[in-house]
């Protein structure tokens, strides 16, 4: 890790618990880089996470950190941010945490456009419990609870976030780490609900079962499957078959929840006078 990032992490808590080859360490580092390059008051920054592999990241970060319940990170974070809007609030969550058990909180936090920076680590699987299929396990893929191949459909997380009201939506990968840092920084700048889907990889519980090769092979898959949205605009639908888009997918700032609440308080105070 870059020495100039050490103060953002609880170095004494390392090494982390993630398996060799896991993408989560890279993504956690990019969050640190984005914070370092965003001039945030570190004492006024809170990291909230749910339950799962991704959500263990909060414990390694040197801030006020809140490791909550499975699926509920956004509901806790809403309380933190609404009660003290001065705080910069990050939410670290996973594909199962955010879109299965926490799906309701996900769409409603986006609908309120509350100023949270959500980094969703998507490794396509429930890793912590040993590899059960999640709403992001691609159709046909093997998991311990889809031993004959997954017959369910997946969420399109950015489309879900946009439809629900998120004002900034982006996607990066553990391979495209520089892009991921830029996306997180844009999310921090956005005064509203920012959702950054960070494509990760799980060699232990997903790659191995689906014969995806080494962690390096999985990282290479992320490299070759991702197409930058600016490049994609020039490509035909045939060329985009089987690919996914990365970069800023949506940015449309509008009224933010905690600001609206403060306006309400001001209005009531004036009426009281």
């Amino acid at each position: 890790m870059r020495p100039d990032l050490h103060h953002l992490f609880r170095i004494d808590k390392l090494p982390h618990i993630w398996c060799p080859g896991c993408g989560h360490g890279i993504i956690t580092r990019t969050i640190g880089e984005a914070i370092a390059e965003s001039d945030l008051d570190l004492e006024q920054t809170v990291i909230v996470s749910g339950i799962g592999c991704s959500s263990r990241a909060s414990g390694y970060m040197n801030f006020d950190t809140l490791h909550t319940l499975h699926g509920r990170a956004l509901a806790f974070a809403t309380g933190v941010k609404l009660s003290n809007p001065q705080l910069n609030v990050f939410v670290l969550t996973g594909d199962g945490d955010a879109t299965a058990i926490g799906g309701n909180h996900f769409i409603h936090a986006a609908r309120r456009n509350i100023n949270l920076n959500v980094i969703l680590f998507n490794n396509n699987i429930y890793g912590m419990t040993g590899g059960q299929y999640s709403p992001l396990t691609p159709t046909g893929k093997m998991a311990t609870t889809s031993p004959y191949g997954n017959i369910e459909n997946n969420f399109d997380i950015p489309a879900l976030a946009i439809a629900s009201g998120a004002s900034y939506v982006a996607r990066g990968t553990a391979f495209h780490d520089k892009l991921l840092v830029d996306c997180i920084k844009e999310g921090i700048k956005n005064k509203g609900f920012s959702l950054i889907e960070a494509m990760s990889m799980c060699p232990t519980s997903y790659g191995r079962r689906n014969k995806m090769g080494t962690p390096a092979d999985m990282l290479n898959d992320l490299k070759t499957s991702a197409v930058n949205i600016n490049v994609a605009k020039k490509l035909t639908p045939e060329k985009l078959e089987g690919k996914f888009l990365i970069g800023t997918l949506h940015h449309k700032p509008y009224r933010e929840f905690t600001e609206e609440y403060d306006k309400l308080i001001d209005r009531l105070r004036k009426e009281d006078i």
Partner: protein
């Protein structure tokens, strides 16, 4: 705040008045009968005081949201009922484990399941104690009048802050929706307790320190302490641990942290207990019927008294055990199938026989029904 005048208000409103007087400035919840008035009044009053109200997407979110707010230093409260309280249980356990002050008002309705939304019951006594998984401490207070809805909500907020714990205010629907003419205390008359905050340097801070107070200091998020909160077993520093001796000592502190404060926490009321031969142990709205029954029976020369636990959990067992000398029998009338009776029996049965009077159909237990039960055991 100026002097308050007498007003005709319902129990649910008195709860909100008590919450605001105690310093609650954050509410998150979800609409559910018969507790909804509490959310409605909070949504109107909190922004006027610079506080925040948010109607969340579900009951679970309401509970989680107030815990997030509590960590920034706010005094927080939510209210719900029946199915809503069931949904909140996981987060209530988190509050007990991570020791986050919060108050949950449960306006009990007829259960199980959707049950009777507008019907009264006292069926959540055991849920309040053991509703969430695992061993954990809890405080539950049980008002039986509109006035007490106010004073006990103040007490609940104070206990939550002082003891870093979730606290229930257990109303039954009758108390929640009953209107009484009350003169509430002025703000000057109310004792307010704030949570203990750390005075040490951030590097020295141990959010789960085991010391003689049993209640560690709690830093607000955003004040530089950079601490970690988790529902995993944690050591004094707040970080997860798998060390069995540390788990043992932290859980032991958690389970016994109220014991040295029992004089403060255990609240009860007695009526004509000195010479009583028959004791009624009743709480909430049922205690009002019990008092009425006692008046009638005393006029007939029957020596009946009342013990009304106000603190239901922890149950005031030593107090009750000290009252058994002259008693021939104890009757526990309650709007459930004997949830508190089991507790009374546990405490008293080696000295006094105990029986119950149960009614679980949405209607209150009447004084006549209690009188008939007393006559039956005479």
């Amino acid at each position: 705040m100026t002097m308050r005048k007498a007003s005709l208000i319902q129990g649910n409103r008195a709860c909100t008045e008590g919450a605001l007087a105690a310093g609650v400035r954050f509410y998150a919840g979800y609409p559910i009968t018969p507790s909804t008035e509490i959310a409605e009044i909070m949504s109107e009053e909190l922004p006027k005081l610079g506080g925040k109200f948010v109607q969340m997407e579900d009951e679970i979110a309401g509970m989680a949201c107030i815990l997030g707010a509590a960590l920034t230093g706010k005094k927080v409260l939510t209210a719900s009922s029946g199915p809503g309280i069931s949904l909140k249980q996981e987060a209530i356990g988190y509050a007990a484990m991570a020791e986050i002050p919060c108050v949950i008002v449960n306006v009990q309705r007829l259960g199980p399941s959707t049950g009777g939304p507008t019907s009264s019951a006292q069926g959540d006594i055991m849920q309040a104690r053991w509703g969430t998984h695992g061993d954990h401490p809890i405080i539950a207070l049980c008002p039986s009048s509109v006035y007490e809805c106010f004073t006990l909500t103040v007490t609940a907020v104070n206990f939550a802050e002082k003891f870093r714990t979730p606290v229930y205010v257990l109303l039954d629907e009758i108390v929640g929706h009953m209107r009484e003419n009350v003169e509430l205390p002025t703000y000057e008359e109310i004792k307010i307790i704030d949570r203990k905050k750390p005075t040490c340097a951030p590097k020295e801070y141990k959010p789960y320190k085991i010391d003689e107070s049993m209640i560690p200091a709690m830093a607000d998020f955003g004040t530089g302490y950079k601490w970690h909160v988790t529902g995993l077993f944690h050591d004094e520093t707040g970080f997860p641990t798998g060390k069995t001796d540390v788990i043992d000592s932290q859980l032991n502190r958690l389970m016994t942290k109220f014991s040295k404060y029992e004089d403060e926490i255990l609240l009860w009321e007695e009526n004509q207990l000195e010479d009583a031969e028959i004791l009624l142990v009743a709480y909430g709205s049922t205690a009002r019927s019990a008092l009425d029954a006692i008046e009638t029976l005393r006029n007939e020369g029957i020596k009946v008294g009342l013990f009304r636990p106000i603190t239901i959990w922890p149950f005031p067992e030593k107090v009750l055990r000290g009252k058994l000398e002259k008693l021939k029998h104890i009757i526990v009338p309650e709007m459930n199938y004997g949830q508190l009776m089991l507790e009374v029996e546990r405490v008293c049965k080696d000295k006094v026989s105990v029986s119950g009077l149960f009614k679980v159909n949405g209607l209150p237990i009447t004084p006549d029904e209690i009188i008939a039960k007393v006559r039956e055991v005479l």
